[in-house]
Amino acid sequence: MWPIYLSVAIQGVLTGLVYGLMALGLSVIFGVVRVVNFAHGEFAVVAMYATYVLFTAFRLDPLLALVPLAALFFFVGYALQAALINPFVGRPEHEQFILLVGVGIIIVNVLLIGFGPDARPVNLSYGFDSYEIGPLLIDKPRVFAAAAAIAVAAALFWFFRRTRTGTAIRACADNLVGAGVIGLNVKRLYALTFGLGLACVGAAGALLVTIADPVPMLGPAYTLIAFIIVIIGGMGSMGGALVGGVLIGVSEALAGFLFAPSMKSMFSFALLIAVLVLRPQGLMGQRP
């Protein structure tokens, strides 16, 4: 029996890494801009539909579609922050919330009007291939997706640690007043950060089509998953987002296997409640 459990758990880890990449975007945005992107999952679903369109129109593999989508979403995020969200920085939390809830509602329903409520699967030629390692069976597309997710996350880590702009953004997160005093253009850096956050979402969305078929109603569900992951991992902690993603991925996979697939998110919510109560700063977050 154990090889089955182990296979399921490994699938969970692979799925969780993609979730983690999506949550990484949320974590970066919150950590720097201090705005909670309540339309996060909705943007991921837009990326999923874009991947579907690219695949059906040009036979573009999702792993390749990831690159243009990440770039496109970077500009979308930059524009959104510059035009709509910057005036809301520092305003009461519920106002930011309402603004982005509005954006999310519009996205879901425009997708609903445009594509209808039915799932639009991306049928990859290698969609049902799997690797056999001893007694373990592991889906090929998920291995690729997880590898791509790690690569994008690594690039983001490198950007924040090694480049001047990345350091400047971290400075804004650490000390906003100080960053202004030494002459950093905070508004521009915020827009850049939101762009980077959405680039993560764009990339994650391209990879998510290997895990689920795009449906408009996935938007709010993914927003919640991203939130749960970020809170479990620790708001603003980049490593925490990936760890939280893996944790949720494994818990979803095992719960779906042992109980019922429709009950899997119940365990995620239970995990969230437990973390909020026992360790509100998250597994890898620092106490404020």
Binding site: V36, L84, P87, R91, E93, H94, E95, F97, I98, L99, V101, G102, V103, G104, I105, I106, V108, N109, V110, L112, I113, P216, P220, L224, F227, I228, I231, A260, S262, M263, S265, M266, F269, A270, L272, I273, L276, V277, P280
Partner: protein
């Protein structure tokens, strides 16, 4: 109560009396459709008022109020179906259950210092957890839903809330009016002022000796209990309950629109918000139907745009503007 009336200035009294008289007499002239829209408006004004108590006055953002609507609805419907206990008694059980859940969420959140966005997420988590749980509970009908049978012979049994549009129209009007009265009274009570103090600056409030934990708990419990009454109304008005519909997060969002549009932390804000939003939604449905556009998402897109416009242009809501224009408001908060 009489002090409350004295706090309203002359013009306000006239407007208030006129509006109430019109609404009371309206069924004499209005048709079923108009009454059903107004019933919906009162319902949203009522639950919006309940939510406003918690967010607008005590400053605690809940995005899981659908939980209390659903619990209220399910408890009263199950009591009616399984034990024949009517809603006028069942409402007490519904209120108790919802208040218990509210107290549990509040205790978990406030005891462990969870605030703001984190608290909002905790409320979502509980609502979603309950939704999935109800999907799998067999005695509530699970995902297939729970139905209150429509029986011809029971029509007119107002003591069991079995009746036509007129019954629910007056019931909703009574609920909304009582909610306005209750919130107006609470807003001028000691508790109300403590809520405002905690909302504005919790640290300062505690330094003044206000027990912030108790004050916030009171807000959650009262708000949950009020919302549950709305749930009882929902169950007996629509005669069906589906976990995926009553507990959905979009329900929680739908329920907070009216107070946000109308004006958070004001007594009349949720009422005005409901009067603005619900008819606009109806008009939109009618227009799209007339144009032959069959787009189920149009109404929601419109709500989304409304939210963004309101929060950009009038973050304090419509009511303060209207009150200023009409020279109303006086000493009412």
């Amino acid at each position: 109560m009489s002090e409350l009336w004295r706090g309203v200035d002359g013009r306000g009294r006239i407007v208030l009396a006129l509006v109430l008289a019109t609404l009371l007499a309206l069924p004499l002239v209005a048709d079923r459709y108009v009454l059903s829209v107004l019933t919906l408006i009162f319902y949203f004004a009522y639950v919006g008022q309940a939510w406003n108590l918690m967010m607008g006055f005590a400053g605690q953002l809940s995005l899981g109020h659908a939980l209390y609507v659903g619990l209220g609805g399910y408890v009263s419907a199950l009591l009616w179906l399984d034990f024949g206990i009517g809603p006028w008694l069942g409402v007490f059980a519904a209120v108790a259950v919802a208040a218990g859940f509210g107290a549990a969420i509040g205790w978990l959140g406030f005891r462990f210092g969870i605030a703001g966005v984190y608290f909002a997420l905790l409320t979502i988590a509980f609502a979603e957890f309950t939704r999935i749980g109800f999907d799998h509970l067999s005695f509530t009908g699970g995902a297939a839903g729970l139905f209150l049978p429509f029986e011809e012979k029971r029509m007119g049994e107002w003591w069991n809330l079995r009746g036509g549009q007129l019954l629910f129209y007056y019931l909703a009007l009574a609920l909304a009016s009582c909610a306005v009265l209750l919130v107006a009274l609470l807003a001028r009570s000691r508790l109300g002022y403590r809520w405002l103090a905690v909302r504005e600056d919790e640290m300062a409030a505690r330094a003044l000796g206000i027990d912030a934990f108790a004050v916030k708990m009171a807000a959650v419990v009262i708000s949950a209990a009020m919302t549950a009454v709305g749930g009882v109304f929902y169950a007996f008005y629509y005669n069906n309950l589906f976990p995926s519909q009553v507990f959905e997060i979009s329900r929680s969002i739908e329920l907070i629109l009216a107070p946000i549009v109308g004006g958070l932390g004001t007594v009349f804000g949720p009422v005005i918000g409901a009067f603005v939003l619900t008819p606009l939604g109806e008009v939109l449905i009618a227009v799209t139907a007339r144009l032959g556009v069959n787009a189920p998402g149009m109404k929601a897109v419109f709500y989304g745009v409304t939210l963004i416009v309101i929060v950009c242009v009038m973050p304090t809501g419509v009511w303060p503007r209207i009150a200023g224009l009409l020279g109303l408001g006086g000493r009412t908060p």
